[in-house]
């Protein structure tokens, strides 16, 4: 089986708000020197693919990404976990803002792998600009079925099933290959630690680069007018004194809120 995992490079989600600044023209983020990382959802997708290979050792895993050169870091991380192939389609910031462009370029990355995928896994949000639109768009671009928000895959004699949680139930879903599945974080798919030897070897493994400018996207675009940092609530009332004193005061506050309906 061939599993393709789509990985994206995002601004470190643990970044304190105080370090998150916009450019003067409010058309981008001042991200010089800000750490980038693989998103937790992409990590989950990568771990799911590795678990498939744990079950079937002949599974081929390919890592695909769309983005600037920094995206090579997330591909190297996948190679360090013994992904078999890695490919990136070049894309600039403006491209990443348009989900249709990203989906089209992801398709180009997958096509460049030559062996068609049986399953394409992608984190439930792709990159810093997506809110869940890209995974189902990608399925449509590839002409494949789609299952959203899975946390595990299993294979049996009848094919492949996916597991997802939905309204306090766990659903087992059967989907014919090939299909695209978006992956969400779950306790069972926390990314494993790599073996150091593989991380070192990954530095020398090739990453196929596809020229994004050559990928044609006919659709009328989505343009950014402006970025803004939302204003948070004004002053937080910080309680004072020893912890027990603060606890007593907090109890009074909570009781007051509850008696006035929390308003």
């Amino acid at each position: 089986m061939h599993v393709v995992v789509c990985l994206s490079c995002i601004l470190d989600p643990e970044l304190p708000s105080s370090r998150f600044r916009l450019l003067e023209d409010q058309m981008g983020v001042a991200d010089n020197g800000i750490p980038h990382t693989m998103s937790p959802f992409d990590e989950a997708a990568l771990e799911v693919s590795l678990q498939v290979r744990d079950q079937a050792s002949d599974t081929m895993i390919s890592a695909a990404s769309v983005g600037l050169e920094e995206a090579d870091d997330v591909l190297r991380r996948a190679l360090g976990l013994k992904a078999d192939n890695a490919v990136r389609v070049d894309a600039g910031l403006v491209d990443m803002q348009n989900p249709v462009t990203v989906a089209t370029k992801l398709k180009a990355a997958i096509v460049a792998l030559e062996t068609p995928p049986d399953v394409v896994l992608i984190g439930r949000e792709y990159g810093d600009w997506d809110d869940g639109t890209i995974p189902p768009l990608l399925a449509e671009e590839l002409g494949m079925g789609y299952v959203g928000l899975i946390h595990a895959l299993h294979s049996d004699q009848d094919g492949i099933t996916a597991e997802r949680e939905r309204k306090e139930t766990i659903e087992t879903i059967r989907a014919p290959i090939p299909f695209v599945a978006s992956v969400t974080n779950y306790p069972s798919n926390r990314i494993r630690m790599p073996i150091l030897k593989n991380v070192v070897m990954a530095r020398r493994r090739p990453i196929t680069l596809v020229d994004g400018a050559a990928v044609d996207d006919q659709r009328v675009g989505l343009t950014l007018n402006q970025l803004q940092i939302p204003e948070r609530k004004s002053a937080c009332r910080m309680l004072e004194g020893e912890p027990q004193e603060q606890a007593a005061e907090l109890a009074s506050v909570l009781q007051e809120w509850m008696s006035t309906g929390g308003r």
Binding site: I10, P13, L15, P16, S17, F20, L22, P40, P99, V100, R124, D128, D131, G132, T133, P136, A139, E140, E141, G145, Y146, G148, T161, E165, E168, T169, I170, T172, I173, T184, N185, Y186, P187, R190, R219, V220, G221, L222, T223, N225, Q226, L227, Q228, I229, P230, R232, C236, R237, P243, Q244, Q246, A247, A248, L250, A251, V253, L254, W257, M258, G262
Partner: protein
């Protein structure tokens, strides 16, 4: 130009998010002097029709068929809506139009897949939608909720979902006499099937409906330490929630995860214990909630979002807090207050 609201009713009732999106669509249409059409897909939808008529769209198209009675099969709803817009009565009148769905992962999937099939531009999860000179403008959360992007598309057809928690005034929309018509969509069986469903044991009351939530984050340190949060929640008549790192660590089930990629919660009171306050977590809490933050790090971003802050180890604060609340409850019982 048309504004079209898509609503699902697999169990016969229009979903609340769908009605919210319809109310937003009606208000948008009134503001730009356009008509608004609702398209309803489901099974046994009399109740849904009644709810939709209260909001008064100009037209309501109904697709009512047994195969659309399964809310798990998003695939079938994609097929139904695609058939409606591709081959149905509106196919020639969708210039400069907007299709709007409510909030939720199924709605996001339908919006994206419809956009691809209709060669439309997907605007994503939006709020503050407005018509532009050509096309549509909308606001979206990006960078995990750290920033708001104002985006625009001049495309002939745009598809959007409404961001969860967008405030919607259902009372102020028009009271037009809605024209109700039916459409029969050709829907084939979906290749994607749900083979099994297992209820998760001990999932407890839903946090989405809770009025008081006591939530724990990475700072709790272990699954066992959530016991004190359960005690506090019980005392307050609330429910326990968790941040993404706490769920990732296996300390709480994912059904209790609050955040942009967890549940959107609308409590009156939200107590965040050992939670740093990452934007994607705060994005899951309705703005009107009163937030208490308890964190030993005085620089934690949660304090800029909270109403009341306590800088201390939770273990130094919570036992006393619970005792004080219990004493007050006993006093009230004693005096009959």
């Amino acid at each position: 130009m048309q504004i079209v609201s898509l609503i699902m009713a697999p169990n016969g009732e229009a979903s609340q998010d769908g009605l919210d999106a319809l109310a937003v669509a009606c208000k948008l249409a009134r503001n730009c002097d356009q008509s608004v059409t609702a398209v309803l897909a489901g099974h046994g939808v009399d109740q849904a029709i009644a709810s939709i008529k209260e909001l008064g769209p100009d037209q309501l198209w109904v697709m009512d068929t047994p195969v659309l009675g399964d809310e798990s099969s998003t695939d079938l709803f994609v097929q139904a809506f695609h058939a409606f817009f591709e081959d149905g009565p509106l196919q020639d009148s969708l210039e400069n139009s907007l299709l709007l769905l409510g909030s939720g992962s199924s709605q996001q999937e339908i919006a994206a897949r419809l956009a691809a099939r209709l060669r439309a531009v997907p605007l994503g999860e939006c709020f503050d939608l407005s018509p532009a000179e050509k096309g549509w403008e909308a606001s979206r959360m990006v960078y995990g909720g750290k920033a708001v992007a104002r985006v625009q598309s001049e495309a002939n057809l745009c598809v959007a979902t409404l961001k969860a928690g967008t405030s919607v005034d259902r009372d102020s929309v028009g009271a037009t006499n809605t024209e109700v018509k039916t459409f029969t969509a050709e829907i084939g069986p979906s290749p994607i099937t749900v083979e099994k469903r297992e209820t998760i044991a001990g999932s407890g009351p839903s946090i989405e409906a809770a009025g008081i939530i006591v939530s724990g984050g990475r700072g709790m340190g272990s699954a066992e330490s959530f016991a004190i949060l359960r005690e506090l929640a019980q005392n307050l008549g609330g429910v326990v929630g968790a941040s993404l790192p706490a769920v990732d660590a296996g300390w709480m089930p994912s059904a209790h995860q609050v955040g942009q990629t967890g549940k959107f919660v609308s409590p009156e009171i939200y107590i965040a214990v050992g939670i740093s306050g990452a934007s994607q977590h705060l994005a899951g809490i309705r703005e009107t909630a009163k937030i208490v933050a308890i964190n030993k790090d005085p620089k934690a971003p949660i304090f800029s979002a909270a109403d009341v802050g306590v800088v201390a180890n939770y273990s130094d604060v919570l036992p006393t807090l619970i005792r004080e609340l219990e004493m007050e409850t006993q006093l009230e019982r004693g005096t009959g207050a």
